[in-house]
Structure formats: structure tokens, C-alpha cells
Symmetry: C2
Subunit: 349 residues, 2 copies
Amino acid sequence: MTTPGRKATIFDIAKLAEASPSTVSAALSGSWKERRISERKVELIRRIAEEQGYSINMQARGLRQARSGMVGMVIPVHDNRYFSSMSQSFESFARERGLVPVIASSMRDPVEERRIVQTLISYAVEYIFVAGATDPVAITELCTAANMRHIFVDLPGPGAPSVISDNYLGARMLTQTLLDGMKRGNNPQRDRLYFIGGVAGDHATSRRIEGFRDVLTEAGLPPAPDQIIACGYPPRRAMQETAALQSRLGALPAGLFVNSLTAFEGVLGHFVTLPPGSFDATVIGCYDYDPFAAYLQFPVHMVRQDSHGLIEEAYRLIDRPHPETAVREVEPTLLPPRTIWAGPFGEHG
Amino acid sequence: MTTPGRKATIFDIAKLAEASPSTVSAALSGSWKERRISERKVELIRRIAEEQGYSINMQARGLRQARSGMVGMVIPVHDNRYFSSMSQSFESFARERGLVPVIASSMRDPVEERRIVQTLISYAVEYIFVAGATDPVAITELCTAANMRHIFVDLPGPGAPSVISDNYLGARMLTQTLLDGMKRGNNPQRDRLYFIGGVAGDHATSRRIEGFRDVLTEAGLPPAPDQIIACGYPPRRAMQETAALQSRLGALPAGLFVNSLTAFEGVLGHFVTLPPGSFDATVIGCYDYDPFAAYLQFPVHMVRQDSHGLIEEAYRLIDRPHPETAVREVEPTLLPPRTIWAGPFGEHG
DNA sequence: ATGAAAGCGCTAACAA
DNA sequence: TTGTTAGCGCTTTCAT
């Protein structure tokens, strides 16, 4: 294999193979059958390309074809079990379709989110998946102007097809389970179920709050405003709020509905400061699954959102010629404490 | 904002602004100062571009400039705390430099790994980071042929600069701590420290085994071959091996050095089948950190690899004009049981 | 202070 | 069965 300074192009290969650039292009891209190029020549071209260490310039091909062969996805953060599972599924389906996945994280910042979408548009990706959108309207605006197909996942948007988790159902299941398991004492404040974490304004959290509220109300225990502490996703806030709640009640509450793994990290951050046994009288549930969180010192009920199913359904939708602007809901699963669930990629470690 | 079928190009903007394409290009790309284009014209062009919803075609720009503005990274899996933290750091540093990160996972398959590297080369990324390379030699070969700069992270390669974790040191620290905490009974088989998980052939695991072996040997307890169970990364194998070990010993061993979070998931998968208290006489350590794993029913000593530091150092290296082909080691940290560590992106939930 | 024109590497329409 | 040619949208030299 010769390695000159410059990278080989189809012109170089054409010269060596005594063929024209278009023949080389066809031979290498697989479109040679329609062009009825002799198998012998194709073989020769392939061999020479191999020898020269040729690799196609996708920028040139993309420019010519007005497509890039990439699919983009925006997620809030990589460093999160829920979203990184999505990334894994997103990538796996992309590859099945011969597309290159480009995944970027917005840090839940709407400005960054828009910048990323702009960038993906500039790179002419074929499709944009937006997971956990903070500003879906702005995104649809950008995409429409650029004629870019897109789909929302996990949080819905009004201007494009959306695939989300059935948060209402999941929250109902978890709330009911916690309620059934709660041990009441004789402190009315403490004997209640509290909801902690998430942003009340976002669709997922608000649906979960609805589910939480409805189950409690149906049980004759409509929640007071102070039972719902939507303090955001960062662990630190959840830690402070848990501490504050405990000092307000004089003890941990009888039940705690934790709205995300990151909030749960914060809750744990407070728990580690307490003497053992402090949580024996608290029933705990977390919306989202983590195998280690499933096996803490105390039992934790967990809702596993089907991130793989979400992405699969999203791909299924965009495969249609004209995906409808509708919201599809995928059912989550309630996992009993101490359940290990391996997921579709569990074999890869 | 008009939205015709076609996307606006600099030619469209040029026509509207009564300027030439080159002027528009300069005005929009920021190189207009050197060209001494009047501020008035630049303003006009900017306004029109905005109105038209213009966004640059990066494929065209990339083709012309022979660069793409993207940096590539290959990781084994997304769905893993260690690697997804790396992704987060990788992305954050990329953005600081105005580059678009493209991250792909190989599923630890050398063939897939090579395919990804090929693809990144085809897209003319500026640099390739390869984390946890399964076949570094092949990668360097591909990259050299394409004149592509690259760097290895987490596992070293002989043909390019490498930034890895000081696995020997980390393993020594963890082994020593476990040894100090072990309670011996009078079953010589059971009273030993076992190493489980990882691939003996890969650099990280072999260095950790060296550290493990050296500490035990220095303590006068050189390990027997059956104390080292390098059964790979998938949870399932680790689960089976843990079960097998227990039935071989008649009980869980006095100490267990678990070589990765995924192996630890498998170990847990076995533990959940045991009656409570079964692990009271076992000291457990895990190479890699997870906040939930840090707060299980039993104490777990954890080694936190500095993934952020690894990536930071890698970027620092490639910023130099001629990065040396050398291996740099970054120190990990030993975390006591029940420690919550937030990481550099902890605020983003 | 600005415009004209060439060309990056590829594919597709049209010729032959 | 294969070659010629135009052009994708941008940047950059060279003119003016």
C-alpha cells in the first residue's frame, strides 16, 4: 500500500485501473449492476482501491447527493442511565439502516439545544431525534425552515411526531404500590406520600404529578401542595429538599416518590448522613430504573421506562412516508424491589 | 422569512444583497475583516441571511477546506457509567473548541470498531479518540494510511499517543484496602481474596491483576490461579462465576475484587438470590464508581477512574503540534464505602 | 472595498 | 459496457 501525502480519490483509482471516474464510482458504490459494468473490471477496481487504502470522501458524496448518511439525536445528558440507553438503541437502529449516528447533549439548555439542531441541519443529517426537548416549538421552527424532518422522543412537541413514555400510567402504578406499602403512624404530616424531583413545567413531570394526584385523590387522600416538591433534576437540590423535608416532619415521610435517578442520587446523598434504620418506616419508589439502585439497603420500587421501545417506535414512525404529527405513548414497567433487568444490550458489558 | 422548496445558499443571499457570493461568504464566516468589507454591507448580508433562514452547508465548506469541523470518538458502549462520563467530557471539550463531537460505540467488536474508524475517516473528522480499543494496531494502520491523527484513551495503543488510567496503582490501593478489611475464618479456600471480571488479555485488566498479585505476594499470600476469574465484562458471566465460586467454597469468599461495574451487576444478580446477611463476612471492592453501587446493603470500596481527567489530558496532548507516541497515566481515586461523588456535570441532572 | 472564476471529490445524466 | 461532463455549495486566489 503506497501512502503518498495526499489521500487517493476516485480519479487516482481510475487512472490506475484504466477506467473512468464514473466507472470507479459505480464499482465502489455498488451501483454497478445497473450500469452493467463487467464483474472483471469491478474486481480490478476493488483491488486497486484496497491497495491504495482508498476511502470515500463522504463530504463530497453528501454534497453531490444532498444527503449525508447521518442521523442526529439531541439528548439532555450522556451521563445518565436512561438517556445513555437511548443512545445505545438509537445507534443500533441507525446502523441497521446504514446511517451514522451523531448524538449531542444539550445539558438541558434551550440555547444549546437550538445551536445543536442548527449544527445538525448544517451537516445535512437525514433526520433529527430530539429527546427531552426543552423548547420543542423553537426546534420545529428551525427544522421547518430548513425542511428538516424531525421527531420528539420522551417529551412531546406540537409540531412533529412524538413518542413518549406513558408517564401518567407509570406514575399511577408507582403511586398505588407505594400507597399500599406505607405504614402509617400517628403523625398526619409524616404519614403522607411525597413526590420529589423534576420540573413541574415539563410534560413528563406534570403527567406524573397528575397520576400521583389522581391515585391519592381516589384513595380519599388528595395531596396538599407541600407534598409535591418539583425541585428539578440536579442531585444537589433534591438532597437539600430531602433534608428540609425531614426536619420539617421530624422524620422521613412514610412514602417517597422520587421522580428521577438524579433526584434519587440526591435523596441518597442525604440518607448516607443518617443512622442506619432511619428509613425502615419509609416506602420508596423511583421513576426510572438502575440495577444498583434496585439493590440498596432498603427496598426500592422502580419504574423502568422502555427507552429501547421508544426509539424503536420512533424509527418505525419516521420510516413511513408521511409520519403524522401525533403523540404515541409507550408503556413503562413497574419493577419490584431487588430486580435485576439486563436490557437489550446486557451482553456487551 | 420565506420558505421556498430549496434551502437558501450564499448565491441567493448574494443576489438579494446585491453582492457577490465571495463577499457573502466572507461576511458570514467572519473573514470579512481581512477582506476589508464595509461594516454596512456585512450588516445587510447578516440581516438577509437571517431573514432567509440561511444556514451554511457544512458538507460544501468541509469539501472545500478539506476539513469537517467534527471530532470522532469510539467507545465500547454508551450504556455504561464510565464511558458515558467520557462522552460527556469529550463533548464538552469538543464544543469549547468549536468542534462537533461524533461518538460511536463498537460493542467491543473489533470488526465494528474498524468500520467505525473507517467511517469517521470518510467524514474527514479532525481527530479520532479511541476509548477501550480492542484492536489498536489495526486502528493505527487505518489512520496512518488515511493520514488521520488519533489518540487512544483508557487502553493504550503502540502507534499513537495514549492516555490511560493508572490501573496498577488503582488495583494496588483497592487490593490493600480489601486485604486490611478481610475477616478470616478457618477455611483456607474461603479466606482468600478473589478477583472477578474483565478480560485477562486487555491491558487494563492485566495491569490490575499485576497490582492485585503484587500486593498479595508482598503480604505473603501469593494468589493461586483460581483466585483470578477474568470472565469478561457481561453481567451474566460474572453472575454464573460468582454462583460457581460460592458453591465451590461452600460460602462467599472473605474478599471480592470486582473488576468492573458490569461484572458487579452480575455479582449482584447472584447476591439477590441469597438470604440477607450472606455477605456480612465478605469485603467487597469494585473497580469503577457508581453512586448507587456505593450505597448498597453492604459496604463497597470503589475506585473512581478520572474519566474527565483522561479526556482533558488527551485533548491537551493533541493540541500540541507533534504529540509524542507515549503512554500517559492518570491517577484514579479510592473512595470509601458510601461516598457520593457528583462529578463535573453533576449540576445538569 | 469587492467580483470572477476555479476547484474540492463525488455522482448522475447523457453520449457513445 | 463505458466515458464525458456538469454541477452540488462553498472558499480562495487573483484581479480590479
